[in-house]
């Protein structure tokens, strides 16, 4: 059977090209997603300023909530803020045998100030001693003394600064003047953030975190193995919550924010990969199905002369599998390239830390190949079942009669799909709310699409029957013929309709999901934003005395520092957004509805929580803050929670001391009654005129900034939708070209019976429009089943929000693609003399 299958395939390369293309791109997409998944799981970040170290010691950057089931392994959550080490650790490590050098490192944002404005806010400040961990070498000048700095060459070059110059540097909200004592050459490993090196005492003062270091970099003595040294250091620090990293883990130690970015990467890769597999299965099943229909007489002949149904099924499976092996093997190269490309785009959009190194080992390759083969197996089985049912008598007859399309398997999967889709929709509406509802939406699209794909021939028949009169009315003779053709070959039509349904359904659902979600979040944001003017830091945070000065400005009704972080209610595994506010201005600048207590008490160890948490004013509770510290708190206020957007309010000074920067990033200001916000803004501008690094913005500017932030998420989504759309578009074209090219003989016959070429092409156009219309209708149905429950959950409205033109564009692209992919092969098929085409092979 293998030899017959191989010979057939060599003979009918064209028929298998479509399957090959679908599998090739599908496997490449799955491999790329596998690579992204591996990248996300590993989160390999190359160390930069710690490139020369052998071992890096940091605080434990994870929080392991107590497992709900004692049998379970504790799952650890990454902490959002830098967990610092006690400076005494440096001394302990220096005492470990085999340590050649151990240096504590601190980092803090530094802004370069010129003419009262921050012109470069990218650099980080460090002590000169930590420069040896990279190592930076002095290219010019000398190492910094007190009041002096060494700039790295990138920064010095970009700002035209030379040794001996005086520079104004902003750190922790205050500006100081330093003399440039030298220019440092960064090693090749350093590609990112520019560095400013201070003398040790200056660095400690500016970082303002006495007695603690961010990390300790360790260089091993010659001949000492890094792994062994790490073990010895671990032994010396036993009992302390530290993480000891070697190799590539040093990068994660240097950039603790990287793992959080990659969690999103894992989810993204999962979603695209899942869609790709699903689309691939249906498209491959469709192309294999078409190729079987196209040679059904051949299969019938095989049956007549003694091929058992089993042998026939095996032959079809062998064919599918052989194509799959070729396609997946060839897909390896583009798979890797595509994965790297997607990661670059994601990093460019800011969705993933740019430092994360793309990683594609053998595992994603194996998985991608396996998925490709499995896809072809599933699709091949679907096609083979149909092939096996070929009746031998069909070899004797010319009539290509349609057979029953709804087998028990199709029915079973359709019923399962509808049940699952309905269940998901109900769950979305009833259980979830707010942004979390999006997590059930992706699966809902997939499940509905599968269910509809299963009964696509039937739906095509029904929708086609509804549209046919229109076609006939509008299209004249060509419409009449197109109508008859569509009626006679619903099952073949369905093969083309399915990928169109997929692409329209997925695109519409994913895009409007995004716009609806963004609208809901923007609305929640503006609802909660009661400030008229906001002071925001451009570099490293606002000075702590600023809020009092702001309060003294005439026209200010209230001002509150605003700090954001993430933490956990102790014992919970689900993280919750934390907001730090000042007790004096919180009532005026936050929009929450209090149900008990007062925000004026939000000082010291006070906390305000949603009433839904089930605690009362005066109760004690513990909250684990962003740096992993668990603090005992006293409930001073309760408020009505915003469903889907949970948060906990803490005193700003408490929360800010547990953040990486240690300073508030914003101050919210409320204008007094009758005070013009514009005038207030001007007054605050004047107040902060001598404070570089403070920006004064109004409500609109704030909302605009928030929307820009949301757009990062949206762009990522659009990138994904784009990829899936590309893939389904390839499939649409693929299937249509295959289906149309096969009709060369039929079109030739039609011309022999008197149709002009124009009439034939007109008929094909109308057929294509019918196919597109059915596909678009069904796709819209798929997206509706997802969007309506989601909108109900997220915005309490039946309709998703978002511009209508996007839907128009999706519909337009789908139509143009369908018509083009039908007309082009039809044009080729009707070239030359009709008699030749009519006499040609079927």
């Amino acid at each position: 059977m293998l030899r017959i299958a191989l010979r057939t395939m060599r003979f009918r390369k064209g028929g298998f090209a479509a399957t090959f293309i679908a599998l090739f791109f599908g496997a490449a997409l799955v491999m790329a997603c596998g690579g992204l998944l591996e990248t996300g799981v590993r989160t390999d970040v190359a160390p930069q300023r710690y490139a020369a170290t052998d071992v890096v010691v940091t605080g434990d950057q994870t929080y392991a909530p107590p497992p709900t089931d004692p049998e379970d392994d504790a799952e650890s959550e990454p902490l959002p803020e830098r967990v610092r080490l006690d400076a005494s650790v440096v001394g302990t490590i220096r005492g470990v045998p085999g340590v050649a050098l151990a240096e504590g490192d601190v980092s803090f944002p530094v802004g370069l100030v010129r003419a009262g404005r921050v012109v470069d806010s990218a650099p980080l400040g460090h002590s000169w001693a930590s420069g040896r961990l990279a190592p930076y070498t002095l290219g010019a000048g000398a190492q910094p003394g007190p009041g002096e700095v060494v700039l790295d060459r990138t920064m010095a070059g970009a700002n035209a600064i030379a040794v001996g110059d005086r520079v104004d540097l902003l750190a922790r909200g205050t500006t100081g003047t330093f003399r440039v004592s030298g220019i440092a050459e960064p090693p090749a490993a350093v590609t990112g953030t520019p560095a400013v090196f201070f003398a040790g005492a200056d660095a400690d003062r500016l970082a303002a975190r006495p007695g603690s270091v961010d990390a300790v970099g360790v260089l091993a003595a010659p001949g000492v193995d890094a792994g062994q040294l790490a073990e010895r250091i671990g032994a010396a620090l036993r009992g302390q919550p530290v993480t000891i990293s070697t190799g590539n883990d040093r990068g994660t130690a240097e950039f603790p924010e990287a793992p959080r970015g990659s969690e999103g990467l894992i989810a993204l890769a999962g979603v695209i990969g899942g869609f790709a597999i699903l689309v691939a299965i249906f498209v491959v099943a469709g192309t294999l199905g078409l190729s079987i229909q196209h040679r059904h007489r051949e299969l019938a002949l095989l049956r007549a002369i003694g091929t058992t149904p089993r042998q026939l099924r095996r032959m079809v499976l062998t064919e599918a599998f052989t194509v799959a092996v070729l396609a997946t093997a060839l897909a390896c190269v583009p798979g890797v390239l595509l994965g790297g490309w997607i990661l670059d785009r994601l990093a460019g959009l800011g969705a993933v830390p740019a430092l994360v190194v793309f990683h594609q080992g053998w595992l994603p390759m194996i998985v991608g190949t396996g998925v490709g083969l499995l896809t072809s197996l599933v699709a091949g089985l679907m096609a083979a079942r149909r092939a096996g049912r070929t009746r031998p008598v069909e070899a004797l007859s010319d009539a290509a009669t349609q057979r029953r399309w709804l087998g028990p398997m199709r029915l079973l999967f359709a019923v399962l799909g509808f049940a699952g889709g309905l269940a998901l929709a109900i769950v979305t509406v009833t259980v979830f709310d707010g942004s979390i509802a999006a997590s059930t939406a992706g699966p809902t699209v997939m499940v509905w699409a599968v269910a509809l794909a299963m009964i696509a021939p039937g739906l095509t028949k029904v929708v086609g029957a509804l549209l046919r009169p229109v076609l006939r009315g509008v299209g004249g003779n060509a419409g009449y013929l197109a109508m008859l053709n569509a009626k006679a070959r619903t099952v073949r039509l369905a093969a083309a309709v399915t990928p169109i349904m997929f692409s329209v359904g997925i695109a519409t659902a994913m895009i409007y999901l995004q716009t609806t979600l963004a609208d809901a979040e923007r609305e929640a944001y503006t609802r909660n934003l009661r400030a008229d003017v906001v002071l925001a830091s451009t570099t490293g945070g606002l000075p702590t005395d600023l809020v009092d000065q702001v309060r003294r400005v005439p026209g200010v009704a209230g001002a509150s520092e605003f700090v954001t972080s993430t933490g956990f209610v102790d014992g919970d595994t689900e993280s919750v957004p934390l907001q730090g506010v000042s007790a004096d201005g919180a009532e005026q600048t936050t929009s929450i509805r209090l149900t008990g207590g007062t925000l004026a008490d939000l000082r010291g160890d006070g906390v305000a929580v949603p009433a839904e948490l089930g605690v009362s004013v005066g109760d004690s509770m513990r909250i684990r803050l962003g740096d992993g510290a668990s603090v005992p708190l006293r409930v001073v206020a309760l408020f009505a929670g915003d469903p889907g957007y949970p948060r906990i309010l803490l005193p700003a000074e408490l929360l800010v001391s547990h953040t990486t920067n240690g300073l508030p990033a914003q101050i919210m200001v409320r204008a007094g009654a009758g005070v013009d916000p514009a005038a207030l803004r001007a007054a605050l501008r004047e107040l902060t005129a001598d404070r570089p690094g403070v920006a004064v913005a109004d409500r609109d500017a704030m909302t605009a900034a928030y929307v820009r932030e949301l757009q990062v998420g949206a762009s990522v989504n659009y990138l994904l939708v784009g990829l899936i759309m590309m893939y389904t578009a390839i499939s649409v074209v693929n299937t249509l070209v295959m289906a149309t090219s096969r009709r060369r003989r039929e079109l030739g016959l039609q011309r022999l019976t008197g149709s002009t070429r124009g009439q034939v092409l007109r008929m094909m156009t109308l057929e294509a429009i019918l196919v597109a219309a059915v596909g678009i209708l069904l796709g819209t149905l798929v997206s509706t089943t997802t969007l309506v429950p989601f909108s109900l959950a997220a915005t309490d409205s039946v309709w998703p929000s978002g511009p209508l033109w996007i839907y128009g564009a999706v519909v337009g692209v789908a139509t143009v693609l369908t018509v083009a992919a039908t007309l082009l092969p039809a044009w080729f098929a009707t070239r030359g003399r009709p008699a030749e085409a009519a006499a040609g092979p079927e």
Binding site: L302, R303, I305, G306, R391
Partner: protein, 255 residues
């Protein structure tokens, strides 16, 4: 020897379609086809010729009645068992689309053997190929052959398994008179020289005259037969059966 029936149909009925569109294609056909005989089945369009062939060859199942083929009762056999029986005991020659376009002449001929998992007997294959006169075309693809040559390949494929019976459905329908004669000669010599049994459905009196016996079907029933027929006699009999002028083969349901 002459009296032993290779194929025996016993009051075979075949009905197509659902309750509203009921077509009775065969209504109680009883006939035996002796070993080493060459039988032509004739009848006007819609008389049930093709259905008769399908039922006798195990391609289709009768609604009622019994079919015995090479001492096996076909009624009640599953699809796979029927297929295996066809593969081992039956050869087929169709009007058109007889060959797999991807396989060479030789591969097409040995296909039934390969499907049965048997090794092709080289001498036998070579003999069969030379008997149909295609020794120099063994490596050719069907598309490179004329219609008559393709039909000869089909006959070779039918012969190679040494089947109990060969069924031919309008084997000359798509051929010109001269090539048709070659093909019919081949079938006749298979019967005369090699003792093969052949059943041929045709509407051509000249083709039918190559057979030892012609049976006539009308409205799903056997209505007579001729032994050692001459073309004129066959044509004469067909005229009486009516509808002779309309000899376009209608192959929709119930043909």
């Amino acid at each position: 020897m002459q009296t032993e029936d290779v194929v025996r149909l016993e009051s075979v009925h075949k009905t197509y379609g659902d309750k509203r569109h009921r077509v009775e294609a065969l209504r109680g056909v009883t006939i035996g086809l002796p070993r080493g005989s060459f039988t032509a089945v004739m009848g006007p369009s819609g008389s049930g010729k093709s259905t008769f062939l399908h039922c006798a060859a195990g391609l289709d199942r009768p609604t009622s009645g019994s079919v015995r083929l090479a001492e096996r009762e076909l009624t009640g056999l599953g699809e796979t068992a029927l297929t295996k029986l066809r593969r081992e005991r039956v050869g087929f020659v169709f009007q058109s689309f007889n060959l797999l376009p991807a396989l060479t002449v030789q591969q097409n001929i040995t296909l039934p053997l390969r499907l049965a998992g048997k090794r092709a007997d080289r001498a036998l294959v070579a003999d069969v190929i030379s008997r149909v006169g295609l020794a120099d075309r063994r490596k050719h693809l069907p598309a490179e052959l004329s219609g008559g040559q393709q039909q000869r390949v089909a006959i070779a494929r039918a012969l190679v398994t040494r089947p109990a019976v060969i069924f031919a459905d309008e084997p000359t329908g798509a051929l010109d008179t001269r090539t048709a004669r070659d093909v019919l000669d081949l079938l006749r010599s298979a019967v005369r020289v090699h003792g093969q049994t052949v059943v041929m459905v045709t509407h051509d009196p000249v083709a039918a005259s190559y057979a030892d016996r012609v049976v006539f079907l009308a409205d799903g029933q056997l209505v007579g037969e001729l032994r050692n027929p001459a073309p004129d006699a066959v044509a004469e009999r067909m005229t009486h059966l009516g509808a002779w002028a309309d000899h376009t083969p209608v192959r929709a349901l119930g043909a």
